[in-house]
């Protein structure tokens, strides 16, 4: 299946940009650490779309974007694992997962 | 081994010795022995220096030795002395010697105090014997940094503020200086070839004019800050006011001289064209320094402030004379450095001793000290008379050489500046006599002062060393003047052409 004639690359990228910024809004507005993490996941996925789309549209003879996306996923998994471990630890310490209360590391 | 290196080794060993011994008494004993050796060694060096010169060694620098330190940038430990640096070494060892005895009774953290003090002195020695700009800069920093600790820990009054201010301003100076030195370095081979930090090498090379004009102000102001160039002098009153006695002595007596020495040996010597072209700006600034410092001193109430402003005035005279760029005036400038070094060290030593007794430095709270502590008072008067240029003491020799030398300049601007600067001798008389009158003469103001004890032996030793040095220069100035003048002919030839 060749999408090039059907859907221009720009659509894909605009879509990914939109998702990226939605994820950003999520990170900025939510104070719950877990929801912030979800926002970050959204952003990561947005980037993945880019990789994949560029691979598919511009360099179909190679697999770099594909592998990059794969690696990003792996890293996202590792990040999520560590982040969740941190969140649980923070919850134990502060009995909350709100970033507002976790601001010890300042000036 | 190069005999100059002992000037660094002796302080090093002294510091090592201080860390090993047990208590305060031993610490100061080791320090005193070390610095006495240093003083002795300086005289030995001076003797050798004369002998070598007499034996017909006419090269620019004597005792030269050079070891590559960092090859990639062509940085070397290059040491050597000429008459000017020899004189400065002598000054440093005398002041350090006196300083050790003036701080005989430091009770808090004695060990650390003496270590810092001797490291400071070692840095100064290193600076004066270095012939490599980088090594010079290194030792300069070595001399400046312990100052922060010495003032911040052993100081009095708003010591943290003063220490911070002094260090930051001097560091600001270093930053400018760094730019200037790197500028010199990167222009040290205009025709290709390896770059060099070697002072004598660079002197033979013509640094491109544009580069000179750009980097001269950096270098001159960088050193000038240390030499209390108006308007970068304000670290001096606060710093001196808070510093402990020996530190004030070393700082005003020796460290400020690094400024003048550097201005001459580095900034002007290596960048003569820029020196000629920009001299007028700095000449105006230094003339202001001279008169302004003197006027500022009149209105002060704290002994140390008075002295700090007087230092601004006198050190201004040093830079002023250097900028005249002729042999006599430059000789006068170096003489003035030495003279001012000795007498300001004496002043600060005395102020420290008086403060230790009366616990105040405000002149209006004291009075009639001549009656209760005659030794200190008499020495104070002698220091004052030296400062206001009494013949027979060193100040007169230096000032007269400067004025006569500066007046040889045929240009009206320079001569008018000379006259303005010369008028400072009257103002100096005003503030010195005012202090002497209020502080030492008149009736005893405070009943408790009747119980004050006069100087103890170490205080007497410290004071007498300096008074004798001042009088020796003042009574027989010819030997020192010749010692200083001898290398200047060549240097000024380079500078003028």
């Amino acid at each position: 299946m060749n999408l090039q004639s059907e859907i221009p690359l720009e659509y894909m990228i605009v879509l990914s940009t939109a998702v990226f910024f939605i994820g950003l809004v999520g990170v900025v507005i939510r104070r719950n650490l877990i929801t912030m993490l979800m926002g970050i996941e959204l952003m990561l996925n947005a980037v993945n779309i880019n990789f994949v789309a560029f691979n598919h549209y511009l360099f179909p003879h190679r697999l770099e974007g594909h592998f990059f996306a794969l690696i990003v996923m792996a890293i996202a998994a590792a990040e999520a694992a560590v982040a969740i471990a941190l969140i649980i630890n923070i919850y134990r310490k502060f009995s909350t997962v709100s970033v507002d209360d976790v601001d010890e590391l300042k000036y | 081994m190069n005999p100059l290196l002992y000037l660094l080794i002796i302080p090093g060993l002294t510091v090592a010795g201080i860390t090993l011994v047990k208590d305060m008494k031993q610490v100061r004993l080791v320090a005193a022995v070390g610095m006495s050796l240093q003083l002795l060694w300086s005289f030995v060096l001076l003797y050798w220096f004369y002998q070598l010169r007499a034996a017909g060694h006419t090269e620019e620098m004597l005792f030269v030795s050079s070891t590559t330190w960092y090859e990639a940038f062509n940085i070397q430990y290059k040491f050597g002395v000429d008459g000017v640096s020899m004189a400065m070494i002598l000054l440093t060892s005398i002041v350090t010697f006196a300083g050790i005895f003036a701080s005989w009774q430091v009770a808090v953290l004695t060990r650390e105090f003496f270590i810092s003090l001797i490291i400071l002195a070692g840095g100064v020695f290193g600076f004066f014997i270095s012939l490599d700009l980088f090594t010079m800069f290194l030792f300069y920093e070595v001399a400046v940094i312990p100052m922060y600790l010495l003032i911040g820990i052993w100081g009095s009054g708003p010591k943290e503020y003063s220490a911070m201010k002094l260090t930051l301003m001097l560091m600001g100076g270093s930053a400018l200086l760094m730019v200037g030195l790197l500028g010199i370095y990167f222009n040290s081979a205009p025709d290709g070839g390896p770059l060099t930090f070697d002072l004598t090498e660079i002197a033979r090379i013509h640094i491109p004019r544009d580069a000179q004009l750009f980097f001269f102000p950096f270098t001159f102001v960088g050193f000038g800050i240390l030499g209390a160039l108006f308007p970068f002098h304000t670290w001096s009153p606060d710093g001196h006011a808070s510093a402990p006695t020996a530190v004030s002595m070393l700082h005003a007596g020796v460290l400020m001289k690094l400024g003048g020495y550097g201005c001459f040996r580095v900034a002007m010597y290596l960048m003569p064209e820029a020196a000629h072209e920009l001299a007028w700006i700095f000449l105006i600034l230094t003339t202001i320094s001279v008169v302004y410092g003197a006027f500022g001193a009149i209105w002060q109430k704290d002994l140390k402030y008075i002295n700090a402003y007087s230092s601004v005035s006198h050190c201004g005279l040093v830079l002023f004379a250097l900028l005249m760029m002729n042999e006599t005036a430059t000789t006068g400038a170096i003489l003035q450095m030495i003279s001012h070094g000795l007498m300001t060290a004496l002043f600060f030593a005395l102020i420290g001793m008086i403060y230790g007794r009366t616990h105040t430095r405000m002149i209006h709270e004291m009075g009639g000290l001549m009656k209760v502590i005659p030794f200190l008072s008499v020495v104070y008067v002698i220091a004052g008379l030296a400062s206001l240029g009494l013949p027979g003491l060193s100040g007169f020799v230096a000032e007269m050489t400067i004025f006569v030398g500066s007046f040889q300049h045929t240009d009206t601007f320079h001569r008018v500046a000379t006259l303005v600067a010369a008028s400072s001798i009257v103002i100096t008389a005003v503030y010195i006599l005012r202090v002497v009158g209020v502080l030492l003469l008149g009736p005893v103001k405070n009943e408790h002062f009747h119980e004050l004890k006069d100087a103890l032996w170490f205080e007497k030793l410290s004071g007498v060393t300096l008074v004798v040095s001042i009088a020796a220069i003042g009574l027989a100035p010819l030997w020192l003047s010749n010692l200083i003048r001898e290398p200047l002919g060549q240097m000024l030839h380079h500078l003028i052409n």
């Binding site: 000036y107 | 304000t234 500022g296 009149i298 006569v404 010369a422 009257v426 008149g442």
Partner: protein, 635 residues
Amino acid sequence: MDYAYTLWILTLPVAMFLTIGLSGDRLKSNAAGILGTAGLAVIAALSWFTAFSYFGSGLPESGFQPVIAAQTTWLAFTETLVIHLGILLDPLSVMMLVVITTVSLMVHIYSLGYMHGERGYNRYYAFLSLFTFSMLGLVVATNIFQMYIFWELVGVSSYLLIGFYYEKPSAVAAAKKAFIVTRFADLGFLIGILLLSFNTGTFDFAALNDMSGSAIAQPVTTVFMGLSVSTWAMLLIFMGGAGKSAMFPLHIWLPDAMEGPTPVSALIHAATMVVAGVYLVARLFPVYHFAAPDSLEVIAWVGSFTSLFAAVIACTQLDIKRVLAFSTLSQIGYMMVALGVSGYGDEGVGYMASLFHLFTHAFFKALLFLGAGSVIHAVHSNLMTDMGGLRKYMPLTHLTFLIACLTIAGVPPLSGFFSKDEILVAAFEHNKVIFAVQWFVAGLTAFYMFRLYFNIFWNSDPHYHHTPHESPPTMTGPLLFLAAASVLAGFVPFHDFVTTDGKPLETEFHTLVAVPSVLIGLAGIALAWWMYARKNSRPESVAQTLHGLYSAAFRKFYIDELYLFITHQLIFRFISRPVAWFDRHIVDGTMNLIGNTTVSVSVAIKKMQSGELQWYIWYFTSGVLVLTLILLYLN
């Protein structure tokens, strides 16, 4: 003739100064006094011996020639500008040696009695030795810079001695004032030296005074602001001399200097140091005469004005030492006038007269001061209102004081008559106005001196607490000696020895000048007798009549107030204080501002480090966006 022994004249006082000064209290007081006096006796003997061998060796064909007895290089500025320390013997310096050592010896002896039992007796003798050294070094200077060196040393000795009673605030203030005023004048001297040496390339008196030489030629022709450079230089040098010799308007320190011990006033502030200015002008007289005649004119007028001015003030003062101080001013004015009106060679009467007057004045003024000291010693007061009728109690003092007064009043055949007469002659030949002024001042001199005399020794007895008694022989001895000197000094054939060119000078007696001057002197004495010999109301009524003039003169024409205004109000308040303020608040303020700005900026932006993660994210993203925008629009 080998004069190498004259070195001892300089080294002995130094040795004495160091011995007495460094030994401190270890030396018994009497020992210090006797040591000092003995040393000075030796020096005086050496000086007299020098004088006899110098003048006694017979007059050479070309007049007395200067001899350099010893010389060493002290400091070299350039190849030509070298400061030598040396001993120059010529008629002028030999005459000064004699005057200084003689008066100094008398003062030393006198002080044995006068200062007896004072605290700081050793210090006193140490300072006296220092002063003697400095003054001798000054007069034997071979070059102008050596002179300047000793000039400063003399200044500081004077400072130390005026402030001898250092616990007395007025003495401290007076010492300070004396030093600073003369220092200010010395600045002029220094600048003059700089100008002169720069233009001539030498400091040496020999080269400067050599009119055939080329040294002085250039500055004469170079013109700066309407006057030749040499005139400027010589005027500035005269400024130094005027400071030391307390010429108007730099005279204000001298009356205050009377705070010092009276023998010191006699030595320094009457006989020797204050005439240094006269000596300076005399030393450089050829330069003044040939290279800067305009400045000589200035000197004449300054001297003339000062003599009149001081004489008027002297008529109103109550403190006897101050009267004498103003009298000194007035007499030095005479000397300056004489130098100012003098010519060279055969016309050099004024020069000779000036130095002759210096010579005689040293004796009779020292005598007056020592006599006043004797009186003060007896009544413990300086004010003439506390005195009167003392001739009964102190016959020797009275006699010697009377002689001194007659001498200064110019009564023949005492020495003052001869020297003053020569001055009037010189003035008469040069300028009639100056002559008239000096003639009038001669009368004033007689009047105020006898006002003093009558008030002390005649008038009515003011009921003393202790009966005054005659001073001890250590004090009266010098008085008698100086009285004899005052009487006899006039017969010294001065014009054979000390002249402009070293050759003897023919002088003639001008009846036209001498008779009126003696007459006005006698008139002054008579007036003083009429007013003060007995207690009466005449002085008050005169003071009432001349109220404005009287009170102005009494307040010394408000010159002190003017100076006080200039120094305290203008310099301290309007220069020094703003400078100090400026430094603290503007210069230092700028530095602090830089520091404080750094701190406050950091305080402001550290809020950004809030610990709130979301803000960090927002900053980061916005930063990226802004950077992107910038990059986009740059390309």
